[in-house]
Structure formats: structure tokens, C-alpha cells
Amino acid sequence: MAGESAKAVDVAGAMITGPVPAVDWLIVAPVLIPLVFGALLLMFRHEMRWHGIVALIGLAALVGADAALLSRVLEHGPLSMTMGSWLPPFGISFTADALGATFALTAGIVAFVCAIFALRDIDVSGRRYGFYPFLMLMMTGVSGAFLTGDIFNLYVWFEVFVISSFGLLVLGSERAQIDGATKYAILNLVGTTLFLIATAYLYGTFGTLNMADIARKAQTISEAAPLMTLATLYLLAFGMKAAAFPVNFWLPASYHTPRIVAAALFGGLLTKIGIYALLRTLVMLFPVERAILADLIGWVAVATMILGVLGALAQSDTRRVFGFLVISGVGVMMAGLALGTETGLSGTIFYAAHSMLIMTALYLLAGVMKEMGGSFSLHELSGLYRASPLLTGIALLLALAIAGLPPASGLWPKVLLVKAAVDANAWWLAGAILLTGFLTTIAMGRIFLFAFWRDAPAKGVAKVFDPATAARPVVGQGVLVVLTVPIVLLGVFPEPVIRVANMAAAGLLHSSAYINAVFPAGGG
């Protein structure tokens, strides 16, 4: 494309020739901002005093860009921008719809809150190791995954955040971390490679990688095309990323090993990207095949939620309890995917946003409890109520939220999901969701009972905590309050989020708006 040849050849059929409105840059801003800040932090890796503050500025800008993008998407419908001036499907498209923008905004908020928590939690050695650059690069990958409109590009963003998450996972290089990271790395590599295999078949079948183009062609492609194989492969690959049973064992093996902030980020964000990718591929690209797979997905969902919460009941380390609760949450989200109705999907989307906030809050709670009570183990924790009534109140609200009880945010997505299941006559699915909520209440109630209410650990266990001299982490508790406020607000005023979730679900089911954003006026 050197100067002279561009003049000689008419490129209007392959390239964008008109000017692009500046506001379209909102679509790539959530990727560019963390990328540039991550690069800057890497460059000035020795100026560790400034890392935290620079990262906070970057993440605040990210949240701002995400919020602006979401409001614009809600107002004008999906937006698209294709890289390098090529017309889709030749160039790589970035397409933001209500689903992607909502997830990106929630992820941005979670990362911002975690960065504040990290100001105190990550010491100098952690900063030297590069906590903040890895955090920014991981957010680049996460935002990219939510906003890209190209399935191969989705793979690339998956790898970006997975590789950055390795960095966060081994931060500190303790023995348990190395052990957990080995399993996490190998199994995630297998998962993403499965994704790549599916994408190779998809490319062989459709000859395109642009998701809007695939969605358009999937309706008219011949019967002989192996769409069923593709859908099943994507279910397996993204199920692995989302930690759905029976490919979830990497999660409890690794999520309790890193620094608590890293665990909070992972628990909040990473599995939801798997759910997002499942929604995107199975609902938008292969709706017919999803309907055939619905029973399988449903039973996977039931197994994931029940076995997840049973695992939580069998653990005595708070971080491992929460790791299993992440899994059972994944099961609940898969239930909406199995139903495939608009109510079910909007329940899944709402639950995913709720789960990002609540899982992060729970891991941070475990961190604050450890700082005050001196341990992660339910055998040793005790007397936290006397040390901090505020923390107890927060813990109670979070316990209600994760169990799906009012007044916190977990209630409404579960109401939507149960309603959708009953509407579809899937009583077993509704029953499983309710049973999971009940068992989660027991698991959380036990943490509450032992860590907060009892005065001293059982006989024979060394006491590690004295309420009179216990540390009172101000930043930690402050961050938890900041996270608890939206969780309660979502529970009390759920209508706006339900509306957004409904829009996102409708956008998935009726992909014409998404396709029109990429291919205006049906061209291309």
C-alpha cells in the first residue's frame, strides 16, 4: 500500500475512505488505555513509588471510558470500528454491544477497586515483581475480549489476559504458588488451544472470522456444515475457561495460592470471560446448535453448581471456600445459557455482573479477615465481631448477596433464572438453583458463625487472635464498603440493571443490530 499504488487503484471496495468520527474511538479506548499505562509502568519499573498512583489514574480513565461507551451503546445500539481502515470482514473489527460494554464496565470497576486494595496489600517486592504492569496488561486482555468482534482476535485477547494472569499468580514465588501455577498454566493452555482448534474448524467452514459475518452466514450455510461439532468444541473450550464441571479442577487447585488481590481479580473476572464467550458463540453464532445442546448444558450447569457448593462445604480455608463458590456461580450462569430464553439470558448476564462484584468482595473479605484474625482457616479464626462490627455487617451483606437472599444483589438474577426455568418447565433446573442457594447459605453461615461469632477457637487450636490488639485495616475495610454499596444498591434498585441485561440478552438473540453495526446497510 505504498503511496503511488494507492492512488492508481480504487480501494473503496476494500477500505474505509471517509473520516471516522472521534467518538468511535471510545470502542478501542478501553483496550488502549490499560495497554498504554501498562507499557509506561513496564518502562519505569524502578519508580515503584509511582506505580500505584499511575495505575489508579489509568484504571479511573478505563472506568470512565467504559461508562461512556456503555451509555453510548445503550443510546445508539451496537458500535463498530474496524482496524487499519479495512472494511469488515477483511479488517479486525471491534464491536461493542450492550453485553460487552456492561461486562467491560463491571470489570473496570472491579480492577479499580482491587488496585486501591493493592496499595496496601502489595508490598515493595510485589511491586518490583511487576504487580501493577501485569494488572494493566490483564485488563487490556479482559477489555479486548469483551469488545472484540473477531473470533481469532478473541483468542489473542484470551492469551493476553491468561499470560498476564500467570504473572500475577506467581507473584512472590512461594512453593504453593508455583504448584498452583503449574496446574493453572497447563490446563489453561489446553483450554485456549481447544478454542484455537474450534476456531480453525470454524475458519475452514465459514472462511471468515468476523463474528457478525459468521452470525450472518450461519443462518444460510448448508446443512452439511459441521456446526454441531463447532458448537460442542466451543462449549468444551469455554466451559474449561469458565470452570464448568467436569473441566473445572484447575480452579480450586490454584485460586487460593496467589496474593489475595490477585485471587480477587481472578475470582471476579476470569471465569466470567468464559461465560461471556459462551454467550457470544453459542447464543449469537450457533443458536440452533445451542438448542440441541440445551439438555447437556443444563446438566453440566446442575452438576457445576451442586458440586461447587458441596466442595465449598468441605473446605476449612476461607479462600478455598470462595474458590468453590466461584464454580457454583458458574453453574448458575450456565443455567441461563441452557434455557436460552430472553429472561434466562438476562438472568445470566445480571448474575455475571453481580458475580464479578461479589466474588472480588468475598476474596478481599478473606484478605481483611486474615489481616485482622491472623488466619485463613476456619479452625483458627474467631472473635472478629468484637474486633470490628463494621466488618461483620459487611460480611453479613456479602453472605446474603452470594446466597441470593434479599436485600443484596444476588436475589434478582436468581429470580430471573428461576422464573425462566419454571417458564420452560425445567423444574429440575429451578430446583437446583434454589438448592444451591440454600447450601451456599450454609457455607457462608458457617464462616460467619466461626469467624465472627465465636469468642475463641476450639480447644487444642492455638489462639492467633486477640480482639484488643488486632489490626484494623482501614483501606481494606474502606474498599469493602465501596464494593458493598453497589451490591446492596443492585439488590434494592435492580430495575436499571435488569433493563440493561434485557437489552443485552435481546441483542444476543436478535443479532441483526450487531450485524448492522459491522456491515451498515447489509453491505460487504
Binding site: 505504498a2 474505509i16 472521534a22 509506561l40 513496564l42 518502562m43 482496524m83 487499519g84
Partner: protein, 139 residues
């Protein structure tokens, strides 16, 4: 591996490979080559130096920390994409200009700076991994 022959040859070999890596990088403009493969050649040059003289010598020779070099490369690549913003074209659109330096016309483009960024990212990250492996062997 620290034979006299190898130790004598290593600096020459490394500098030759570094030179070649820059050639491959710039050649990638219109012919096979480019930032990634050039970066790999440069990283192997540093690896050879490391095998001969040990990791600390390489760190001294590189002056900047490998990860900082990576960061700079990433920044350069992102900036060359961001330049599109000023010209009202989509992100990462290739922009071209030619300047006259000492009577020679030189074509400059954002594509080239993007590729140089890729080169630096690869040099930095691969070298730091190679050094991490070499340091373990020593220690």
C-alpha cells in the same frame, strides 16, 4: 560451554547477529522479515552472550532492563496506532510520509514504528526469559 574459542567468538557473533536482526527488521517492510523474527534473532544474540559470559554480563551489556525495553516497545506500538486519531482514520491505519535526509528520500510509516515496537517487545521479553533460565543454571 565456556571454552576459550567460544568466549572469544561470542562477542563478534552476537554483534553480527544484532546487526543482522536490524536488517531483518527493516527488510520486513516489503519482503520476508519483520519485527518478530528480527527480535528473536536479537534475543538469541543476547542468549549466546549469556551462555559465554553469564547473565550479569548480558544485563550490563543491555544497560536497560529487558522488561523496560519490552515496555518501551509496547508503548511505541500503541503510539503508532494512536497517531491515526489525529488523522481521523480508524485505529492502526498505516500512515505514510517521506522525508529527505541528506539528499536521500526515506519513507517513514506508522507500520514501521509498530514493527520496531514489536521487535523491542520480543527482544525484551525473550531475553528476560532466557536470562531467567541462565541465572538458575548458574545459581
Amino acid at each position: 560451554m565456556r571454552t576459550l574459542i567460544f568466549r572469544t567468538a561470542a562477542p563478534y557473533l552476537s554483534s553480527l547477529m544484532l546487526l543482522f536482526s536490524v536488517f531483518v527488521l527493516l527488510r520486513g517492510h516489503n519482503e520476508p522479515g519483520g519485527g518478530f523474527i528480527g527480535g528473536l534473532i536479537a534475543a538469541s544474540a543476547f542468549a549466546i552472550l549469556g551462555i559465554a559470559y553469564g547473565a550479569p554480563a548480558v544485563r550490563r551489556a543491555m544497560y536497560f532492563h529487558p522488561m523496560a525495553i519490552s515496555g518501551f516497545g509496547l508503548f511505541l506500538s500503541a503510539l503508532s496506532g494512536l497517531l491515526s486519531y489525529a488523522f481521523r482514520v480508524p485505529f492502526l491505519t498505516g500512515l505514510w510520509t517521506s522525508v529527505h535526509v541528506l539528499g536521500v528520500e526515506v519513507d517513514l510509516s506508522t507500520v514501521m514504528f509498530f514493527d520496531i515496537g514489536v521487535y523491542l517487545v520480543v527482544v525484551g521479553s525473550i531475553t528476560s526469559i532466557a536470562l531467567a533460565l541462565e541465572e538458575r543454571e548458574d545459581g
